[in-house]
Amino acid sequence: MNIVKLGYKNIADRPLSTLLSLLLLTLGVGMIALLLQVNRHIQQQMENNIRGVDMVVGAKGSPLQLILSAVYHIDAPTGNISLHEAEQLRKNRLVAAGIPLSYGDSYKGYRIVGTDHQYPELYKAPVSNGRLWQEPFEVTIGATIAQNLGLQIGDTFMGTHGMGEGSEIHDEHPYQVVGILGYANAVIDQLILTATESVWEVHHHEEEKSENHPGEENHAHEEADEKHSETTAHDGTPGEEREITAMLIRFRSPMAMIQLPRMVNENTNMQAAVPAYEINRLFNLLGVGVDTLSTIALVIMAVSGLSVFISLYNALKDQQYEMALMRTYGATRWQLVWLVLQEGLLLAGLGFLLGILFSRVGLLLISGLMEARYHYSFSGGEIIREEWQLLVASLVIGLLASLLPAVRAFKINISKTLAYD
């Protein structure tokens, strides 16, 4: 038996008020930790994906939408741009590299992206199995897709028009898996990569089909996502009329940041968007929501502190006699102070642990949801620096809440307490 054990026994002896204090602490800590973790994961994912992309060009429209669709593949494309125009830009002396992207089709919810071999290089995604695509309709798939859909080299599948699973199937052109990428912890893990020509060819045939059966045109095109863009190539005029959806640009020098976006926006039919800037804007928009939630969580934590205080204060009223009794058995004032402080700290520490547990369960649930909806997943729930600060904050709350009861325990008048009972 010692003071620590006694403190624990005392807390366990008043289960209701302990439960209330722990519940509030768990909620407060859990919400804040969850926000911190989600924020960190989103930021990490977002930043991981814009590495090496200084600017994105695509069809005119919302710049945020362009970034979300071309870099993160979570929004519909803004439309198409002329391949010729994009190539012109790529030849600009300020541009170090340009990666063409053509997308709009999918397989089981995973996007099929027509591009070139610079794209896997951009994310440093190694080929873990097989090889990169060479011919049209050969595909190399991201690691997550291989795992989730169980696709293997040699398997074939049909693409679906648009993102929905119930949409029209391009059944004339099966894709064949020739390679599987290793994990890059970036959006590429969730993409099906193929040659740009594959996408052109699929939709080229589509056009022909539509021309042959004009009545079906509505069905073929408008039923799909209205923002879905066709990546088309018209017969006989290769190059000139070919279109892509977007191009990821890397600058040769920081100078380009000042000149190129303006030039593109003013002088071409394309739109230029800077990922770093747009993501910043997105975070600022989200920030309002995050701030509101953190405020609520902070209020809950403050209330939990109050609850710990009331719990300890009430307990002390009941335990006044016990405290005096302990003094007659040889306990010093400081032992009683430590007993009370320690009860507060124990509650706070326990609340913190439960809160972290709560946040990790929440993270797992959100991760599952994100995975199912956006094919994005969070991994790793290690304690981050802010959570250590949260631990300190919890302990400070526990300490503050037990300070006044501790002072009262210190000042107990043994003789009076024993005599008037």
Binding site: M1, N2, L6, K9, N10, A12, D13, Q319, Y321, E322, L325, M326, R327, T328, Y329, G330, A331, T332, R333, W334, Q335, I414, S415, L418, A419, D421
Partner: protein, 208 residues
């Protein structure tokens, strides 16, 4: 050896309690009788070092209580003085055995299971050691509180009205248990009470 000399105490300036000098040899007992309100509990608290006297001093085994620092006085009390109260009190969240372990811990002694076992046996409440003491019957509670008082082999056992709420049979039991426990540990026993039933059981008694 317990010695008190020219003790006075006042709660406010109007009334001052004056107490007779007491000198008690080791192994003897003393009954202090007096009506309510005459300062019996005050005297007991003075002897236990729970109150500091206005004048005079209390000496136990050659140590003058008033010269000790507060923390040292707490330790001294825990090691050398056992207190029995009118109404038994315990730490509610602990079992009887844990209460006893806490008493040993607070006195800075080794947590000796054999010793607490021995005390429980001598008071015939071994079978209740895992129960919460406040849930025991009144007689058992009274015995449990004696167990806590004598556990650390105190040189002085101070009992404040230990029998006033008990019937005749239990009164007799408690008195003989207290004397018996004091005898086994060679302690001086001081009982303060208004209960005249006890007079027959003590060799020495003074009237306040």
């Amino acid at each position: 050896m317990l010695i008190t000399r020219s003790l006075t105490f006042s709660y406010d300036h109007r009334a001052t309690f004056q107490f007779p000098d007491i000198s008690l040899e080791a192994g003897t007992d003393l009954l202090i009788l007096g009506k309510s309100g005459i300062g019996k509990t005050t005297l007991l608290h003075l002897m236990a070092g729970l109150l500091s006297p206005g004048t005079g001093h209390v000496e136990l085994m050659g140590t003058e209580l008033q010269t000790l620092s507060p923390a040292k006085l707490d330790r001294f009390r825990g090691r050398h003085i056992g207190l029995v109260f009118q109404r038994p009190h315990f730490i509610r969240s602990l079992s009887l055995q844990e209460n006893l372990a806490l008493v040993q811990y607070l006195a800075g002694k080794r947590q000796d299971k054999a010793r607490s076992q021995q005390v429980l046996e001598s008071l015939d409440i071994t079978h209740k050691r895992y129960d919460r003491p406040h849930l025991l019957s009144q007689g058992e509670q009274q015995r449990a509180t004696i167990a806590m008082a004598v556990l650390n082999n105190p040189q002085l056992i101070l009992a404040d009205e230990p029998t006033s709420s008990l019937d005749d049979t239990n009164c007799l039991n408690v008195a003989s248990l207290l004397k018996q426990q004091a005898a086994t540990t060679g302690a001086q026993l001081v009982v303060i009470t208004h209960d005249h039933r006890l007079k027959a059981h003590f060799q020495n008694s003074i009237l306040l």
